[in-house]
Symmetry: none
Subunit: 205 residues, 4 copies
DNA sequence: AATGAATGAGGTTTCATTCAT
DNA sequence: GATGAATGAAACCTCATTCAT
């Protein structure tokens, strides 16, 4: 989904936020549409008026998750920096963006294990194909900079795909354990991003 | 579950294997007890004869997942090696162990996002406390060696918890994407483990 | 609905046509108001603006079905013909009229099996009483001519009600199987009507 | 479905009877599975344990309806009678068989209007193909004897398909209006069958 | 040790209907 | 006259679980 996707209505957006939160808390499978509706202070009908199925709702949450990250990182891509610096900037953009929209990313990560749906409609399959494509496009941003670094001799020669997947999981690690806290130092997230960037770049060199 | 836990009967073990496989494929939530029974070529009764509930079955799958990794890595712990070498040996043991029992680990990873169960029995809570404890003990093995390395000046000074979580996700990354293939080179998994060990250690130095 | 009922507005008539078509295709129960609206290229609101409920819409479709047949056959009634000739003329009028407004009759036939509605409003009950009355009046046209023929000795003596019901189903049989086709001979429907008239009259003699 | 179909368990048969009755009374669409369960004095679960869906339940009711009629008429087929006599015997067998299993036939007749289901599974489509085939086979019994009679000059020359469909509706007409009554004369149904046979044969000659 | 029948709670989805605009 | 949002009741169906055998 490019930054030029059609604007989303206010009501739809509220529903997506609620769905992301509830799916994050209870798990996308265990959470019911009623749970989402209750969190919204509304009834199921409101949700089904905007989304044709639970799968579609989940899909749009995931699509937004991917879009949030993509939008944050995209501006860095075209800057003329050496690969290790560009990668650092990408991670410094990625981590705060992800933690700022944590519910969405807790949801999309649930879908990374290649679980097969029991039955899906053609519409839902199309939606999930779109998500896969978006995710692949996002990964390719990182793949390109790693490849560039390896060619330029700034990164160690090694299997590119393995390096890419490992690095992406490394920079997404906080999604698994981070919880925002009231007493959290202001600099916590930037520091975290910096440490992850250090580790990521070091892991390649 | 320590190496001295009571032996598991043949029938129970078969059921756990089937459950791990089905939970991996369909997701632990979406998979039904009937799905597991069908995969087993039997009926639900057989499963309920050995496990009191679906939660208990899932719990024992996770417990086994943790135990498989722990058993593989434990022997390395007491060897007198410098921290970076010990960590390398731990990872070289961890990765093949995990990929050799992949279904179990695909299942336990589903539980890593801090999802709150809607309601559970006291028995199941006890079981999951046990899993958490086992997992914590396993993480402590890595935490100790990283701390030792940082104290000895072999690893960069940085936030220990962040480093630990990031490193664990790095070495578990293949659980997300690895799929055994018939035409896979014999050395694929050891090579993968070696690359991950390189990346992990580099990320700390 | 007698030929002197109030005229129906253009918009109402369009809605009734769409409803008849959709109820025919999907079945009156399975079809939703949204299905009708979609067929109309509009939204539900348009329908609810003209009809107070789905039951009323269905009722008016049925009423029209009965009126179409009644209007076509009524002119024959007062002609001074011997019963078998009058019956023939009635059938020759009935069949093309019915097949010319097939969707309406496919709908009303769905209601002929004496199905009990689960719950209806007083308004709807009144509407359906009207349909029953209209239908009874229409049947009485045929009942009278059969009775006349039996009295005059032109038709075999037999149970009048059974003969009437059987004959009406015979002449409505095409509603079950007829489908208009582009390559249909011009004379198909008149020929069909003639054959049914032959069969019907023969069945009584 | 031939008389050699697999035997149906007691529980399944009870459910089918209840379903036929409820579908007849309320209409197959309007009746809910809960209605059927209530009529059985059981819960939905019992029904879903034996039938995978409402469509399948409805399908098996229709299949039984077709089988009841087929079984009653089949013995007549191979007797060496002149066509009009054979047709009379067929009708004399058909009518009591149908009225003796009226609920089933009130249900199957609902399906004769070519209504399109909104969505069906492959399984259900297969089931309904089977019903169509069974129905076609049954019609062919009548088609053959009519054709034979027309060839032998005992029946009037006319369009065979039209004659067949009309005649089948004629002999099924009581399904639309018949209701068993306590005070009904013992001979009512045989007399009815005789009158219908008379009308049917007369309609062809 | 295992099966098959049955239950009951809860989930997703549909849909007639209402209402503000 | 018509739309789009929203509701609430009821439908279909799933599934963990229990029980008699």
């Amino acid at each position: 989904m490019s930054p030029t996707s059609p604007p989303i209505s206010r009501s739809k957006s509220e529903i997506l936020d609620a769905a992301a939160h509830v799916f994050m808390t209870l798990g996308a499978d265990a959470a019911s549409i009623d749970d989402v509706a209750r969190h919204l202070g509304a009834t199921k009908g409101r949700i089904y008026h905007h989304f044709p199925s639970k799968g579609a709702l989940l899909g749009e949450v995931c699509l937004r998750a991917a879009a949030f990250a993509h939008e944050a990182v995209a501006p860095v891509i075209d800057t003329p920096l050496p690969p290790e610096d560009k990668l650092r900037q990408m991670i410094l953009a990625h981590v705060p963006a992800v933690l700022g929209t944590l519910p969405y990313h807790k949801v999309i990560i649930q879908s990374y294990l290649g679980i097969m749906q029991k039955s899906t409609t053609a519409q839902e399959r199309a939606l999930f194909d779109g998500i896969r494509a978006e995710r692949a496009a996002y990964q390719d941003l990182f793949r390109a900079v790693i490849a560039e670094g390896m060619e330029a001799g700034r990164f160690r020669q090694q299997n590119l795909s393995i390096a890419l997947q490992s690095l992406l999981l490394l920079v997404n690690a906080p999604v698994f354990w981070y919880q925002p806290r009231a007493d959290e130092p202001e600099e916590f997230i930037p520091d975290l991003a910096a440490q992850l960037a250090d580790m990521a770049i070091a892991s390649l060199t």
